[in-house]
């Protein structure tokens, strides 16, 4: 078995268990969490380099050959996502070590961060649908535990709405799995790619595809299913908000990309047109919601929704350049968005408020922090030397090439509104003098520590690097996009032998001990 494929999942899960065992020892939990996150980054890097060198890695857990066994697959998309998850985990753990000091919160947050990262990696590496479902549920439970850690009123309120819609999503996902299994008799995604083409009742396949659009659409927070996100993301601790903002919705986007390039590709004219309109409306409603708010983290939450639209747009166009753009967008967005939440937390520590009307004076007092805000904020808006420019360029160029001028126009217009929104934060939150009426209880204001700024600086440098040295990231996204448009490579890596059926008798391992 391929240890490289398993360890990004097992390592954080084991650390989570260890963290729960270490509940009485706060310092011990933090140290274990930090070390494990660093190890996770190393493992994810090794996996990415293995995939880069040797192509798609696939392995069967328990030794049963696909499609009977449980498959783990890492293609370029999965490996890149695992890598970015590891970066997020490390950044969040460092930030949480400085920012979360209450004993009761430390022992809840650190273990569940690890479990969350393990589940997210599991979802990225899962090769069959039911396994993906289980990882979604693990992710849901871990994220709920993180969301309500502290149990303030707002958190409980947000958690009710988050839990309600997420549970409906996973139940629909399960129903979709049932229907798909009934149609094809398999749940292995590579095998599904082959078998779906033989289903006579293509209308039913399309109907099932729409069930999956709704299920993953809720997870990815697309229009009109996103209302749980702005209701909950601003309520927990900043470190938790940041990793949610970076990773969670992107798992939904990943699942959509995976299924709608590998399984549901028969009626592209129908399903992907739905996705196209979803994308346009998601971009637009998200950015309008952001424009109407004053609370920093709530503005940023609405921007997540808006940016999800660009990723779905890349998927909906379904051309190699568009998929490349979608992958590039996901990677760029995770880094930028988590960083913006980190900075919102730093501003809150500095000024003691979340509301733009009460913020200000940062540029005068901490010019460096203002600069650190500038990089991700204007990368999100798509300013040229930063990563967001390339992401938007690829997606919009792809939509122009595909002849979707209206949607390209919407994407450009939304970019303009994003710039307006970021300028609003810049002017009100950073640039203007701090209003004298700002109600700042001193206990809310806490000093900024160097370690707190560490992840912010690192992620800002990463954003700059992607923007200035775009070549390797483009090459990675290009390979991922190439694999997504040619699913046969994926199928062959998982099933071997060009995807023909393995007879059951041959598939049973001799040592299975069925006597």
């Amino acid at each position: 078995m391929n240890a490289l494929l398993m360890s990004p999942v097992i390592l954080p899960l084991a650390t989570g268990v260890l963290g729960l065992a270490l509940r009485p020892y706060r310092r011990g939990q933090q140290v274990v969490s930090l070390l494990a996150a660093a190890a996770h980054l190393a493992v994810a890097g090794a996996l990415l380099s293995a995939v880069w060198r040797d192509g798609i890695q696939a392995d069967q857990m328990g030794g049963w050959p696909a499609p009977y066994g449980i498959t783990l697959v890492a293609d370029h998309l999965s490996a890149a996502m695992v890598m970015i998850t590891a970066i997020m985990l490390l950044a969040t753990v460092i930030y949480a070590c400085c920012d979360v000091v209450e004993d009761s919160l430390v022992k809840d947050i650190h273990p569940h961060l690890q479990v969350l990262a393990g589940a997210v990696c599991g979802a990225f590496l899962a090769g069959d649908l039911f396994n993906l479902y289980v990882w979604f549920e693990v992710m849901l439970v871990a994220s709920l535990a993180l969301l309500i850690a502290g149990a303030r009123k707002e958190q409980l309120d947000g958690a009710v709405k988050y839990a309600a819609l997420s549970l409906v999503a996973t139940t629909l996902f399960l129903a979709g799995i049932g229907l798909l299994y009934g149609l094809t008799g398999t749940l292995n995604m590579a095998d599904l790619h082959v078998r779906v083409q033989d289903v006579e009742n293509t209308g039913l396949v399309t109907a099932v595809a729409v069930v999956f659009i709704v299920a993953f659409g809720i997870k990815a927070a697309v229009f009109p299913l996103f209302f749980w996100l702005p209701a909950s993301y601003h309520t927990p601790k900043v470190a938790v908000s940041a990793i949610f903002a970076g990773l969670l919705t992107k798992v939904g986007v990943y699942a959509l990309i995976r299924l709608f390039t590998l399984v549901f590709t028969l009626d592209v004219g129908y399903t992907h047109t739905i996705l196209l309109w979803i994308a346009a409306l998601t971009m637009l409603t998200g950015v309008l919601g952001a424009a109407s708010h004053n609370d920093l983290r709530r503005i940023l939450s609405f921007h997540i929704v808006s940016q999800i639209g660009y990723m779905i747009l890349g998927l909906a166009l379904y051309t190699p350049l568009a998929l490349l753009g979608a992958v590039f967008y996901v990677v760029h967005h995770i880094i930028v968005k988590a960083n913006l939440f980190f900075i919102a937390g730093a501003l809150r520590r500095l000024v003691g408020a979340d509301d733009l009307r009460h913020l200000g004076g940062v540029y005068r007092e901490r010019p460096l922090l203002a600069l650190l805000f500038f990089v991700p904020a204007f990368s999100l808006a798509g300013f040229p030397p930063l990563s967001g420019f390339w992401a938007k360029l690829f997606v919009i160029k792809a939509s122009l090439q595909a002849g979707q001028h209206l949607v390209a126009g919407v994407a450009l217009f939304v970019g303009l509104l994003t710039m307006y929104s970021m300028t609003k934060i810049w002017v009100n939150g950073v640039w203007k003098a701090r209003p004298e009426s700002t109600p700042v209880p001193d206990e809310v204001r806490r000093p900024l520590r160097a370690a707190l700024l560490g992840p912010i600086v690192a992620l800002a440098c990463l954003t700059l690097t992607i923007g200035l040295v775009v070549e390797p990231f483009y090459a990675l996204a290009e390979r991922a996009g190439h694999e997504l448009t040619n699913p046969d490579v994926y199928v062959e890596a998982v099933l071997g032998r060009g995807g023909e059926d393995v007879p059951v008798a041959e598939a049973l391992p001799a040592q299975a001990g069925l006597q």
Partner: protein, 131 residues
């Protein structure tokens, strides 16, 4: 038999959607319990009700005989039941804590995370600011 179970799935889905659309968190939680049953049943019949024999392979044979039931959906459902049961328990506890803390079971009245900001409240804020 397939038809009856299919109808049952439909009835369960309909009832759960009705429950979930009530403005009452307790009914919503019950709706979530029902809809997970519906999904499990759907998974169950999707495997096809092919036979009633236990899915065991005879000694010396490579394949199970005719008329055995499909074991895979059952294994999947078992996993799904465990997951939905534990999530349901969590949701019950969450609903109770939310009720204790927010003193309502009406999700529309739960506005702690998103305080209402109609023109009225904004106007009130402005007058409060000038006063």
């Amino acid at each position: 038999m397939d038809t009856i179970i299919a109808l049952l799935v439909g009835v369960l889905m309909g009832a759960s959607v009705y429950l979930m659309l009530r403005r009452n968190l307790v009914r919503f939680v019950l709706g979530v319990a029902l809809i997970s049953h519906a999904a499990n049943l759907l998974l169950f019949i999707s495997g096809g009700l092919v036979g009633a024999d236990p899915p065991l392979i005879q000694v010396g044979a490579d394949l199970p005989g005719e008329g055995v039931s499909n074991a895979l959906p059952q294994a999947l459902i078992l996993t799904a039941i465990v997951i939905s049961f534990s999530v349901f328990a969590f949701l019950m506890a969450l609903a109770f804590r939310a009720y204790e803390s927010l003193e309502t079971v009406d999700p529309d009245a739960m506005r702690a995370a998103e305080p209402p900001r109609g023109w009225k409240s904004q106007a009130a804020e402005r007058t409060a600011g000038t006063a």
